[in-house]
Every structure is written in structure tokens, then in C-alpha cells.
């Protein structure tokens, strides 16, 4: 179910803080119902972009359209909600009081008990916010975001500082909720989160989109596989000369070969050399991420194509 206007439309977005350029000409369009991961290292401009998207910060240049209007309009009608990475809670209120108070700021909301249940914190209703763990507080922020039944939900690094269990519980709550048609945008620097929960990944670096596509497409950007084998006294230059080989690394008795044609390398190793314990692994999202976001490499050199698919 797509409506005629995109959920989010960012064009030519720029924002500087003194000499530091946080967002540097960012363009992004997100359709209703998409679950998008906004992935990038710390300082990539994710939070600044989200602040502008929500109308909490004013862009130096460019335009933000949220559900066809301004962010302020979307906020006024409760059509957008956000889960920030920290803060935004009063420690001396109970969980239920926080939700009831926030609900009173809207014209109409989902019932308090319903959002508590959906966020998985119904049993914590009477606990003081200050006594809740980081993960519990985050689920409270999520419950607050559910109140207005928003069309767009933005989560800014929602699991930062949580332990593995907390992260899993939090994402379970999000997933259990996943209402069809709700647009979800989450910033993260955890690759596995982007991989596991997003339909689409937007990679940002130094305030720009450096790659944009499905998880598979992003992985393909850093295409190639690693062939690993035990091979004492490997002929490094000979292996490097094989077709498709990008790099060869010798670590003691082991040799690691990065290649676009793993079959050829494997065949060569097994038939022409004494190699054993052969392993072939595809490069994971983390490699793609590192290749795309390494600050010493200009984006154009690593990957000239910023947008894949779409």
C-alpha cells in the first residue's frame, strides 16, 4: 500500500557546526512501509540527519519533506515518532506515569496499557524510570513512540549500550509490532542489526550517502570471496597472478586470497599445490561496511556507484 507521496524526502541536505560539516549534501527518498537502516560509523552525520528529519535542527541548506509536509506538521498530527538513543525521560516518574503524561500531549492515542504491553514493559508500569535498566528505558521510549500510532517511526541508535540480551528483546518488541505500512528508519552502527532487521540499507559516511540498496546489494558492493588454505611456503606472487585474485596474504602457514573467482583459485590450490584445509567464505556486511566507510579512502575510489538497485 503506497500513497502518492514518499514518507521521507531529503534533498541537498547540509548542516555544519562551526568548521565541522556534519551533513554534506545528502539526498534520500524513503517510500511508505520501508524499513530502512541508516548505517554508518560514529560521526557520519546520522544523528544530525535524523534531527533535521524530525525538525529538531534546521538545515543550513536543502529541504526536508516528511509525509508530504514539514516535520512540524507531521509532529503536530502525531504522524511521526522517534526513539532517541538516550535521554528524554524523567527519572522521577514511573513508567506508567511517563506514558500517561506523554499521552496527554496528544489529541488521541492508543491506550496506555496497550503500548506498555506491545513494548513488553507492562510488568514495569509502577517502576521509577530511574530504576529501569538501559534496555527497559529504551523499550519505554518505544512505548511512547507507539502512543500516536505514527506512520513514520525513527529510531536513533536504539540499542547503543545494551547488552546482547537487551538488544534482542528490544528488536523483538519492534518486530512484534511491525505494523504493515509503518515506515521505520533506524540509525545504527551495528551491522548485524542493519542486516537482520532492514529491507534497505543506506550507508552514510562524512555526511553523504555512499551506498544505498538491499542488504544483498550492499554485500555485493564488496563482492568477492576469501579463499583460505594451509600451504607452507606459498608462492605469493604466483597466486597473485591467478585470474580474479585481488590480494594475497600469508599468515604463517596459512594463505588468504581475496578473489572474484574463488572456483579458479580453489582448483589451482587443490590440483597444483600441496594446499589443504581449504575454506571459502564470502565477505560479510562488515567488510562491505569497512570498505565503504573507511575514512582514508575517498568514496569515489572505492565505489564509484553510490546507488545500487532502486
Amino acid at each position: 500500500m503506497r500513497s502518492e507521496c514518499p514518507a521521507v524526502e531529503l534533498s541537498g541536505l547540509r548542516k555544519s557546526f562551526g568548521p565541522v560539516t556534519a551533513v554534506d549534501g545528502l539526498d534520500l527518498t524513503i517510500d511508505p512501509g520501508e524499513v530502512v537502516a541508516f548505517l554508518g560509523p560514529n560521526g557520519a552525520g546520522k544523528t544530525t540527519t535524523i534531527d533535521m528529519l524530525l525538525g529538531l535542527a534546521r538545515p543550513d541548506a536543502g529541504e526536508v519533506r516528511l509525509l508530504g509536509g514539514t516535520p512540524a506538521e507531521a509532529v503536530r498530527h502525531g504522524r511521526v515518532a522517534a526513539v532517541m538513543q538516550s535521554g528524554g525521560l524523567l527519572k522521577d516518574l514511573t513508567v506508567a506515569e511517563t506514558v500517561r503524561m506523554t499521552a496527554s500531549f496528544f489529541g488521541r492515542t492508543r491506550p496506555v496499557t496497550e503500548v506498555l504491553t506491545r513494548a513488553g514493559i507492562a510488568d514495569l508500569a509502577d517502576r521509577l524510570v530511574g530504576k529501569c535498566s538501559g534496555g527497559q528505558q529504551q523499550r519505554l521510549r518505544f512505548a511512547l513512540a507507539l502512543l500516536s500510532d505514527p506512520d513514520v517511526m525513527v529510531l536513533d541508535e536504539p540499542t547503543t549500550g545494551m547488552d546482547v540480551e537487551g538488544r534482542r528483546d528490544f528488536w523483538q518488541a519492534i518486530r512484534a509490532d511491525a505494523r504493515s505500512g509503518r515506515t521505520i528508519i533506524f540509525a545504527t552502527h551495528y551491522l548485524d542489526e542493519a542486516d537482520a532487521y532492514a529491507d534497505r540499507i543506506v550507508l552514510v559516511r562524512q555526511g553523504r550517502v555512499v551506498a544505498d540498496g538491499t542488504t544483498a546489494q550492499i554485500k555485493n558492493l564488496a563482492a568477492g570471496r576469501i579463499v583460505r588454505a594451509t600451504l607452507p611456503d606459498a608462492d605469493q606472487s604466483g597466486l597473485a597472478a591467478l585470474p580474479g585474485v585481488e590480494a594475497v596474504e600469508v599468515r604463517g602457514d596459512a594463505v588468504l586470497i581475496r578473489t572474484g573467482d574463488s572456483d579458479a583459485v580453489a582448483r589451482h590450490l587443490l590440483t597444483r599445490t600441496a594446499a589443504r584445509d581449504l575454506e571459502i567464505t564470502s565477505r560479510n556486511l562488515e567488510d562491505a561496511f569497512l570498505a565503504l566507510t573507511a575514512t582514508d579512502a575517498a568514496p569515489a575510489e572505492v565505489l564509484p556507484t553510490a546507488t545500487v538497485g532502486a
Binding site: H77, F105, F106
Partner: protein
């Protein structure tokens, strides 16, 4: 109209009545304030203890106008308690800013004016509680005044503290730190002194009496004494 561009029917997405100012918020705010032991100590308990400490030994003594010294001390401390209560309630904004709550509020339809109104209302309720407690302690300790004086003095102490609710809010919005009251506490004590709440202004050195005339509480201590 911009609303026509929105895809969801706007009927159930209208902004809240009165910009979000509601009894619900007020009630939760009050509960929150009463949960804070520190605030209670400084606004409710301390003035009462001061009264018992400094007032009781002067029990039976009278002012030149024939009223009890005890009554003067009680009203003065009620003014002081209301000052501290309203200032600290207003200054709570600083804490909320530091915690990112104000930022969170910007993502709701709550109107800023409704937020400020809630803060002022909370401060005034707290101020009233401070005055009532002080008067109750005073009455129990033997203060006797005509009903009209009770009411007038109470109303003056309470409504006068509106100024300090505003001051607290101002400081809360300007102050960078969380513990605004650690700074405001001594300032209020100084203002109370200039206002003659702790001892008659006439007992201060000349220069300080002059300065006192330009401070907000000036006259606050004299007024009940003259009635």
C-alpha cells in the same frame, strides 16, 4: 491547506485541547514534586523548623502594633517557603532540559505555552502547600490573628510567589547546570533578608537598607507586621 496532503484522516489526529495543558499532567507533576525529598525538605520542612527554632522562644512578645512577634515570623517564613517552592518548581525546567525531556516534548503536539503554564501551575500549587503548612504549624504553635489577616497574609505570600515561579523558569531556561537550586538557594536567602523576612529591614546597615528597596521581596516582611 497542508492537511489535505496528509494520507491518514486527520479527524483522529487533531492536536490536543488547550495545547496539551491538562489536569492529568498537573496531577503527575505534583506527584513528582512530592516524591522529591530534597524539594520537600527545603520548601516544607525547613521553614517550619526555622519557625519553631526562632519563633517559639519569642512566644508572647508583641510588636509595637500589638500583634504577636510569632505571627510576624510565621508570615515571613511562609513568604520565604513559597518563594523557595515556586522558584525550585520553575527551575526544574533546567533539569528537564539537561535530561533531554524538553527535546522529547518537541516531538509531541504539546504547545510550548501549555508547557510553561503547567510549570507555573505546578509551582503555584507547591507554593500554596508551603504557605498552608507554615500557617498550620503557626496556628498549632499559638499564632492568633483575625480571619481577614490570615487570608490576606496567605494570599499575599502565595500570589507574591508568582514572581518567583517566573524567576525560577527564567533561570531554568538560562542556567546550563542541573543543580540550579544550589545557586538559587543562597540568592533567595539574600533576597529574603533584604525583604526583611529574617529580621526587620530597619536592623540592617544603612547601605543595605537602600539596596533592599530595589529587591523584589522588599516590603514583604514589613507588610504583615504593619497590619
Amino acid at each position: 491547506m497542508t492537511t489535505s496532503a496528509l494520507t491518514t484522516p486527520t479527524a483522529d489526529r487533531r492536536p490536543p485541547a488547550l495545547g496539551g495543558f491538562s489536569p492529568t499532567v498537573l496531577l503527575i507533576e505534583m506527584r513528582r514534586v512530592l516524591r522529591n525529598r530534597r524539594t520537600l525538605l527545603f520548601t516544607m520542612v525547613m521553614p517550619a523548623v526555622f519557625f519553631l527554632l526562632f519563633g517559639l522562644p519569642q512566644r508572647g512578645e508583641t510588636l509595637p502594633n500589638g500583634r504577636q512577634v510569632l505571627a510576624w515570623i510565621m508570615v515571613s517564613l511562609a513568604v520565604y517557603g513559597a518563594m523557595v517552592a515556586t522558584t525550585s518548581a520553575g527551575a526544574a525546567v533546567a533539569t528537564e532540559r539537561a535530561l533531554g525531556w524538553s527535546r522529547q516534548l518537541r516531538l509531541t503536539p504539546l504547545h510550548p505555552a501549555a508547557y510553561v503554564a503547567t510549570k507555573v501551575a505546578t509551582a503555584m500549587v507547591l507554593g500554596l502547600v508551603a504557605v498552608v503548612i507554615e500557617f498550620a504549624v503557626g496556628a498549632a504553635a499559638g499564632v492568633r490573628l483575625p480571619v481577614s489577616v490570615w487570608l490576606l497574609a496567605g494570599a499575599a505570600a502565595w500570589l507574591g510567589s508568582l514572581v518567583f515561579a517566573a524567576l525560577g523558569l527564567l533561570i531554568g531556561y538560562l542556567g546550563p547546570a542541573e543543580n540550579v537550586m544550589q545557586f538559587m538557594g543562597p540568592v533567595l536567602a539574600l533576597l529574603a533578608m533584604f525583604g526583611g523576612l529574617f529580621l526587620p529591614v530597619e536592623m540592617l546597615p544603612d547601605v543595605m537598607q537602600r539596596i533592599a528597596q530595589f529587591t523584589p521581596v522588599w516590603g514583604g516582611g514589613n507588610w504583615p507586621a504593619r497590619r
